[in-house]
C-alpha cells in the first residue's frame, strides 16, 4: 500500500548515507509543571468513567461506620475521634488503597510503557496521579465531616481546617499508595498492601485512642493518617491549640514529601526493566 519509495523520501536512505554521520537533534523534554498539569487533568477526568469506586464507595463506608458508632460512643471526646477518623478514612481509602491498586495494575499490565516512552519527568506522573487521587477524596471527606458533625452534634465552625488536612493527609497517603503500587512485585501484593494500610487507618483512626493498649497506640503513632485525624479532632474544642494542629499537619507534609520521592524513584525503576 506504500507508494513512496524509500529512496525519494526527503533525507531518505541515499541522502543520509551521503551526509556526515552525527547524532540527530533530540525533541525537547516535557517540562515538569506542564506535564504534571496534563497528567493531573487526565487522571481527574477518569472520575467521569469510574465515578462509583473513586467518589462514592468511600463516603458510604465512612457514613456507615459513623452510624454504627453512634450507639457505642458516649463522650464528646470519643465522638470527635470518630468523626475525624471517619473523614480521614475516606482519604485513606481513595488515596492509599485505590492508588496502590491503580499503579499496581498499570505496572503489571504494561500500562507504564505508555508513560515510559514519553519524555516526561517521573515526578510529573507520580505527583499528577497522586494529586488527582487526593482530589477525588474532597467531596467524600466533606460529606462525611458535615454528616458526622450533625449526627454527633459537633460544631461546624472549624471545618475549614479540612482545606489543610485533605491535601496534606492526601499527599502522605497518596505517596504511600503510589510507592506500594510501584514497588510491589505483583499487582495482588499492591492491592493487599493498599487494603492493609486502609484497614490500619480505619481501625487505628476511628476508634478513640484512650481505650487502646500501649502497643496498639504505638502502632497508631506510626501511621501517617493518625496525624491528619488528630489535627482535625483538635479543632472541635472551644479553644484549639493551633500549634499542635500545625505540628500534626507538619508530620503529614513530611511523610508526604518522603513517600512521594520514594514513589518517583520506584516509578523510574519500574519503567525500565
Amino acid at each position: 500500500m506504500s507508494v513512496v519509495p524509500a529512496d525519494v523520501v526527503p533525507g531518505g536512505a541515499l541522502a543520509v548515507e551521503a551526509a556526515a554521520p552525527g547524532a540527530a537533534e533530540l525533541a525537547p523534554r516535557a517540562r515538569l509543571w506542564p506535564s504534571l498539569t496534563a497528567v493531573y487533568r487526565a487522571q481527574l477526568s477518569r472520575a467521569r468513567v469510574a465515578r462509583i469506586p473513586l467518589l462514592f464507595v468511600a463516603t458510604f463506608q465512612s457514613v456507615g461506620i459513623m452510624i454504627m458508632m453512634r450507639g457505642v460512643v458516649d463522650t464528646r471526646g470519643e465522638a470527635q475521634s470518630v468523626v475525624a477518623g471517619s473523614s480521614v478514612v475516606v482519604v485513606a481509602y481513595v488515596a492509599l488503597n485505590l492508588l496502590a491498586q491503580y499503579f499496581g495494575q498499570l505496572r503489571a499490565s504494561g500500562g507504564l510503557d505508555h508513560y515510559a516512552t514519553l519524555p516526561v519527568p517521573p515526578a510529573a506522573v507520580v505527583l499528577g496521579a497522586a494529586g488527582a487521587y487526593a482530589s477525588f477524596t474532597v467531596p467524600g471527606t466533606l460529606v462525611t465531616a458535615v454528616f458526622g458533625c450533625v449526627l454527633f452534634g459537633l460544631p461546624l465552625t472549624n471545618l475549614w481546617i479540612l482545606v489543610a488536612v485533605i491535601p496534606l493527609a492526601g499527599a502522605a497517603l497518596a505517596g504511600l499508595g503510589a510507592a506500594f503500587g510501584l514497588l510491589a512485585p505483583r499487582p495482588e501484593l499492591a492491592t493487599l498492601l493498599g487494603q492493609l494500610g486502609m484497614s490500619a487507618a480505619l481501625l487505628l483512626g476511628v476508634l478513640p485512642p484512650d481505650r487502646m493498649p500501649e502497643i496498639v497506640r504505638l502502632a497508631r503513632d506510626l501511621l501517617p493518617s493518625t496525624y491528619g485525624v488528630e489535627a482535625y479532632a483538635r479543632t472541635f474544642g472551644g479553644h484549639p491549640d493551633w500549634a499542635f494542629v500545625a505540628a500534626d499537619l507538619g508530620v503529614c507534609a513530611g511523610v508526604g514529601v518522603v513517600s512521594l520521592a520514594v514513589a518517583a524513584w520506584a516509578y523510574r525503576r519500574a519503567a525500565v526493566r
Binding site: 533530540l26 506535564s35 516512552t117 519503567a271 526493566r273
Partner: protein, 324 residues
C-alpha cells in the same frame, strides 16, 4: 537510522511455585542484527513468542538488553534509554494507561507529555483525529469503544507530537478495513512529508507483503532472514502452495491422497501443501477427479506467501502466522 548489533536478552528460569509451573530460561532475542534505513517501513514478522515484542522493547529503551547495542539516529539507546522517548513514538499492545480517558483527551495528554504546548497539542490532536476519522467519537472514553476503534485511538495518540521514528507493535489488530486504510494512509503521509521511518511488528502475512519495504523474519529470538518481501518470496519461487479443504474427512482410501498426507500440514479439514509446480498440477488433477473429488469441499492454488518463506526457512511454529 537504527542499527542493532548482537542484541541478546535472556529471561531467567522461573522456579515452580504454587499455581505457577516452572519455566526454563528463555533466550528471547539471540544475537539480533538489524539496520533500518531512514524513511522505510521496516517490518518484524514472526509468530507469537518469536521475540518481536522483546526486541521492540529493547529498541524503545523499555528493556535493558544483556548484551549488544542499539543506535538510533546516532544515539546509544542502551546507555541512554531515556533518549528513546525524544526520538521515537511507540504504540505498544496495551492501552491501560489511556483506557478511562476520552479519545480527545488521550491524544491531547500524550501530545503534552511529548513536550507540546497546550495550543499546539490541541491543534495537532484535532488534525490527527480528523485525519483518522475519529472526530465523531472524540468525546467517548476508550474503554467504551470496540477493540479496533480503541486501537485506532491509541494510534492517534502515538501520532500527536511528531517523531522521526514510529515503532508500532501490531497496530491494526482488531481493525476493520476502513481503519486499516486510515492507518496506512497516515503512515504514508508522514513518510512523504517528513521522511518518517516506521518499525512495524506484525504476525499478519498479508499486511507484511503489502505494506513493508523490508522485513526481518524472526523465529525463536533469531533473525532468520531479512530482505524485501519480493526478495524473500523469490527464495521459494519454485514452489506452489496447494490448499485442500475436505467435506468431512480426507478420503484416505484413495492411495494418491493417502500418499500426500505425510507432506501436508493438517489443520482440521484443511490440508496445506508446498509443492513443485508439476507436482501441484498432478495433485489438482487427482483431487478434482474420481473418489477424491466427492470428498473435496474446496481447493486453492497460490503462489508462495511470506508464510511459505517462514516455513521454508525452518520456522518452528507450524501455524503461527495470520493471513487476513
Amino acid at each position: 537510522m537504527c542499527a542493532v548489533r548482537g542484541l541478546t536478552k535472556t529471561y531467567p528460569a522461573v522456579r515452580a511455585r504454587r499455581g505457577a509451573p516452572a519455566a526454563p530460561e528463555v533466550r528471547a532475542t539471540d544475537e539480533v542484527e538489524l539496520a533500518v534505513r531512514r524513511g522505510e517501513i521496516f517490518g518484524l514478522l514472526g509468530p507469537n513468542g518469536a521475540g518481536k515484542s522483546t526486541l521492540v522493547r529493547q529498541l524503545t529503551g523499555l528493556l535493558r538488553p544483556d548484551a549488544g547495542s542499539v543506535e538510533i539516529l546516532g544515539h546509544d539507546i542502551v546507555r541512554h534509554p531515556e533518549r528513546a522517548a525524544r526520538i521515537l513514538a511507540y504504540l505498544g499492545q496495551e492501552s491501560t494507561a489511556l483506557d478511562e480517558l476520552t479519545v480527545s483527551l488521550a491524544a491531547e495528554t500524550t501530545g503534552r507529555l511529548r513536550g507540546l504546548e497546550v495550543r499546539q497539542a490541541r491543534a495537532e490532536r484535532d488534525a490527527v483525529l480528523d485525519e483518522l476519522g475519529l472526530t465523531p467519537i472524540a468525546g467517548r472514553p476508550l474503554k467504551k469503544l470496540s477493540g479496533g476503534q480503541r486501537r485506532l485511538a491509541c494510534f492517534a495518540a502515538a501520532l500527536v507530537g511528531r517523531r522521526s521514528l514510529l515503532v508500532l507493535d501490531e497496530p491494526t489488530t482488531g481493525m476493520d478495513p476502513v481503519a486499516r486504510r486510515a492507518v496506512w494512509a497516515a503512515v504514508d503521509r508522514r513518510r512523504a512529508e517528513d521522511g518518517t521511518t516506521v518499525l512495524l511488528v506484525t504476525h499478519n502475512v498479508i499486511e507484511a507483503e503489502t505494506v513493508l519495504d523490508r522485513v526481518a523474519v524472526l523465529d525463536r529470538g533469531r533473525v532468520i532472514a531479512c530482505d524485501t518481501p519480493a526478495g524473500l518470496k523469490e527464495r521459494v519461487a519454485d514452489e506452489v502452495r496447494v490448499e485442500l479443504v475436505w467435506r468431512e474427512r480426507a478420503p484416505l482410501e484413495v492411495p494418491e491422497v493417502a500418499a500426500l498426507r505425510e507432506r501436508a500440514l493438517e489443520a482440521g479439514r484443511r490440508w496445506t501443501l508446498r509443492l513443485a509446480p508439476e507436482e501441484a498440477r498432478a495433485v489438482v488433477a487427482t483431487v478434482t477427479g474420481g473418489a477424491a473429488f466427492a470428498a473435496l469441499d474446496d481447493f486453492t492454488l497460490a503462489t508462495p506467501s511470506l508464510e511459505d518463506v517462514y516455513l521454508a526457512l525452518g520456522g518452528a511454529a507450524r501455524q503461527g502466522l495470520v493471513k487476513a
